[in-house]
Symmetry: D2
Subunit: 381 residues, 4 copies
Amino acid sequence: MIKDQLRQQRIETPSWAYGNSGTRFKVFAQQGVPRDPYEKLADAAQVHRYTGVAPTVALHIPWDKVDDYADLARHATEQGVTIGAINSNVFQDNDYMLGSVTHPDPEVRRKALRHLLDCVDIMDATGSDTLKLWFSDGTNYPGQDDIRARQDRLAEALAAVYERLGEEQRFLLEYKLFEPAFYMTDLPDWGTAYAHCLKLGPKAQVVVDTGHHAPGTNIEFIVAFLLREGKLGGFDFNSRFYADDDLMVGAADPFQLFRIMFEVIGGGGYTNETAFMLDQCHNIEPKIPGQIRSVMNVQEATAKALLVDRDALAVAQREGDVLGANAVLMDAYNTDVRPLLGELREEMGLAPDPMAAYAKSGYFEKIAADRVGGNQAGWGA
Amino acid sequence: MIKDQLRQQRIETPSWAYGNSGTRFKVFAQQGVPRDPYEKLADAAQVHRYTGVAPTVALHIPWDKVDDYADLARHATEQGVTIGAINSNVFQDNDYMLGSVTHPDPEVRRKALRHLLDCVDIMDATGSDTLKLWFSDGTNYPGQDDIRARQDRLAEALAAVYERLGEEQRFLLEYKLFEPAFYMTDLPDWGTAYAHCLKLGPKAQVVVDTGHHAPGTNIEFIVAFLLREGKLGGFDFNSRFYADDDLMVGAADPFQLFRIMFEVIGGGGYTNETAFMLDQCHNIEPKIPGQIRSVMNVQEATAKALLVDRDALAVAQREGDVLGANAVLMDAYNTDVRPLLGELREEMGLAPDPMAAYAKSGYFEKIAADRVGGNQAGWGA
Amino acid sequence: MIKDQLRQQRIETPSWAYGNSGTRFKVFAQQGVPRDPYEKLADAAQVHRYTGVAPTVALHIPWDKVDDYADLARHATEQGVTIGAINSNVFQDNDYMLGSVTHPDPEVRRKALRHLLDCVDIMDATGSDTLKLWFSDGTNYPGQDDIRARQDRLAEALAAVYERLGEEQRFLLEYKLFEPAFYMTDLPDWGTAYAHCLKLGPKAQVVVDTGHHAPGTNIEFIVAFLLREGKLGGFDFNSRFYADDDLMVGAADPFQLFRIMFEVIGGGGYTNETAFMLDQCHNIEPKIPGQIRSVMNVQEATAKALLVDRDALAVAQREGDVLGANAVLMDAYNTDVRPLLGELREEMGLAPDPMAAYAKSGYFEKIAADRVGGNQAGWGA
Amino acid sequence: MIKDQLRQQRIETPSWAYGNSGTRFKVFAQQGVPRDPYEKLADAAQVHRYTGVAPTVALHIPWDKVDDYADLARHATEQGVTIGAINSNVFQDNDYMLGSVTHPDPEVRRKALRHLLDCVDIMDATGSDTLKLWFSDGTNYPGQDDIRARQDRLAEALAAVYERLGEEQRFLLEYKLFEPAFYMTDLPDWGTAYAHCLKLGPKAQVVVDTGHHAPGTNIEFIVAFLLREGKLGGFDFNSRFYADDDLMVGAADPFQLFRIMFEVIGGGGYTNETAFMLDQCHNIEPKIPGQIRSVMNVQEATAKALLVDRDALAVAQREGDVLGANAVLMDAYNTDVRPLLGELREEMGLAPDPMAAYAKSGYFEKIAADRVGGNQAGWGA
């Protein structure tokens, strides 16, 4: 039963995870990094090949701009994956220095909105049903711009995008506490994203990036709350010790990841359309194995969350048995689920250890040799 | 003009600020502390006498329970003040160890709700139009109780209270990140409070306690957002360097207080029914002067916010002049408004320096001598 | 081998964990709570009886003041435990409102120092070799007192205590970011404690309370650093999601506890005199089971840390294999060590599940019935 | 008297503040940005021309690498400024992906050390007496490398650099909580930097970057403590709302800047060799005016700190007058010191408003026109 549920899990990897990335101090180049969206999809297909649960790949526009999106989608299918969410990018053009859809200049706002609508066109062309909206918009200094006027502009842009969505399409609205805006961010928290989505309707939902919160925020509370409201659209998974560190999901606080998955399952988010997406930078670790490890970390947390004896838990909770209820939860968390997942993979015709299987495959040696010359894809490219 | 606006400001002081208070480590007793609600009101009246802008006093039930609320209200009037918000307390009874309105046991929930409805009765009796709802409800350990079920229980209780409110009454819903719950708080942030209020209707609004946020939270953003939504009911003012330190408002970050007041004014919150309430503990400083200083701090921040040249600011913002726009704001902040406020007080028939005037009045010496014996009022009493 | 090391672990429980405790909002009374230090020791002995690794009990003076300390030590021995660290308390007297050893008034400083020296007398009488020094000293408002002068006063008091220590005695100096001081704490971080200890000599060491750090602090780094310097005296274990929440150790971030134990072992802190002490409040969970669970949590983290394949780790680190090195660590963390610990307990003649064994013992029912009347011991009593 | 002290203040600006900079998301190019170190010095000279208190300029190696440092120093003198601290950079070479002086590979460590020693050569060539050492070294994942071994390597490198310093030279050791390392930073806090400097001797001192601390850290405490120990070497000034935001100093929390300057003055740091350096990124505001504003902000904070009536403060502190002592401090902070600084500038032969004077000078228009073509200097160039 648990294995059935685990078998059906779908974790989306992002095309940009396969290119170089870094911090503001340095982007370290790696060997064999893809040079175009086609190569990114090929790499993403490797992750699915060894894990069996990563069949879709998110794109970032314009980083993944191509002339023929139908052709790109075909290429994906040939590799064994499909195109997932389309991520819009309105933060890397010089015009966006003071904002995109919230910019004081209506000309810039129009340009940004045009890009967002173009992304819906790409959804139509690729068959993607999900648009992910993240805005770096905000200000660095008190007084720099009018907080409230920027909300008006944001609402206007969101309404225009919402209007353009097709029947089977939705957008996920992402919030982030800070960075790159350092005084005020126009969508800083789940409450702001929720309020905007609520006004627009069912095709607008909130996406939770696990690295985008203030210190001390209880993320699983937000997850439970948004599920109760029908407004949890999905996750951008990654992990952090400090700010938006974008480390591999589950690397910093595996217990938190487990608690999040526990709420997802309890709130019905596992079987509905909640999207499990990775969004992390591999600054110093190799790209493909970094994604494989991350997918495995999400699987392990999910397996543990599925193991919780919810009946026993409900009894302990009802009786006010603080230690007992906590023990039921910890009992699942403390279980070593790796053998179970190894079995599942073998039942799925996969090697029990995806990391070892990929390492043995020779794929890395091949791309390292083949992909010499050309421009490596990277953060911003 | 600015003086006219300052003259109309109303800052509410809380009855519990006049009693002893402290931390979990120690409550330090002070001289002359009131022994009953009548004496608390007398002390609060002193703050109004010297500042001229603190004409109302918040009560806390059951700390301020009396047999005859109409008599208490009369006493207040005789002292020159009136009863402000009624604050409910569902956290100091043994039954509330695992929650009040969100407790797993329906019996406890009923008891808590009864108390909340009693508070509305007290509003009727005292003429108060505002009920402040803060719940300490939450859990200390993962698994201890069901996050979502607790939201259902919370919603149910809030609806019952909302239903009971009279035409001219409202409730303000308070959120707090943590303490005394240390894993999950049922109302941890403005988004949660907002979502509940939105469903209930116009008589439910959010109250912002300036000490109840995660590190790094931009409070003025929340203020601007809630005003845009018509959902900012008021403030619990205090200040903090770390957590919910409950220091005197303006003591830790006067620039933040200024930015908050700037958004209040810009968002129309100064002239509507937004309540400016103090809620702080004077652990080590004398009570009445502590409140006087706090009222003055709010006044100074307000005066500076009123001084901002909003036309010049709008021009700089429109032109994308980052340094110029910031400079307009800072110009007001850097102005010394104490002479202006001194003048205003003299025009109001008050001494220009309320701290000095109170110190000279002999009131402290009188209460220190008179109030010997009896039980000092304090946190929890 | 690992079992041998686990068998030798010694975890000290604190006498105050058996009494009532709470937050500033409410102390919830529990059934069967001890009424004097003798009953506290009896309860602590239960924890040792079922875990086999908690043979010492820390005292808090004056909370555990008795007329005849030799008699108390004898009573402890009869119960199967011995007296551990003596914890001084210079924060619950009215005189200490503005500080103890750093107070501006030399009279108060002398009083505080006298208490500290009395604690060394109690060490002599009980055979305790460790004095734990925590000071709540600090200020709430900028300007309130002179930061540097307070350091001078602190240094003077510490030197006087150091001077008084016997050959085989030491003191552990505790730091804490904030609370109950909310602007400036005189010993806010490990650097301050370290600098003072360094000047005094080898009998002064730093104690790390795992709940006393700023958000984001890497505690295991501090542990590794202090061990390298020979200045790690011990731990006050507990856990937190927000501030100094004093939850059961391992409850909030079991991965962090594992990382800490990993550094302890690698730095030689497991076999030297580093003290593993619990210091946590059981606000809502029953006392004795709360301590048993906490001892088990430390054991489990220790077992996992002992399981790390340090040779494989060193190879991966040397080769710059980021994912490989991390995987070696996680492999140990993901292991379920509960069966191993169950075996160990059986080899020690104990029940494999201490929680179940205690629950079945009838001890709670006995104390709940016996300890009616008298004053329950509690935080501050 | 206060004007005399203000006249002698020296605030160093960094060469890299005049080039483009940004976040990991985007570096926005600006008009007229310098294309080489010579042009950077010319721009820095503008800041000194209008403020009169910024006569030195910090270099960053290799960003400011030139063939002939003596010639560069001469050029500086011609512009009216001199070379200040030399900042080493061991974070932007591919070899440093896993560390520089703490890298597991001794070859990389040797390369990094060589660079540091080269920087001392440049000090000899330029007459600079200060080397600033910041290391991005750390790890992203638990287990990635050995925390303690990295401390050994760090200590070894620091000793080698210390050894190489001339009689009149010193190094300032910088700490930072996180970024670009996201799990463990080898020099994360002042305590670590202090401990290393202490072992080396008087030519090693700690530098406090005001943006490099955990949330809630009391920076002025660290300043007071390091001054008491004779170990405060200087400041890297900037400001932050969240993490290491590198905003203009004084922009986020002017009260904190005032408190820091108050401790500097009280601890004797104003008249000794404590260096006041700016280190901030102007991501969206124009470079030269951004530096001018920052210098003015430091001046204003200094002026207010000098205004504190220290005699009255000492009396209030001695008497335990919490509100009175705080009021003495706030009285200075609330004073508008801009007229005083305007007067001072006029006495120095400068325009009273440096921002306006620079804007009128036509310098920006000239460099915007002249500096077309070539490679703009920027973060990392």
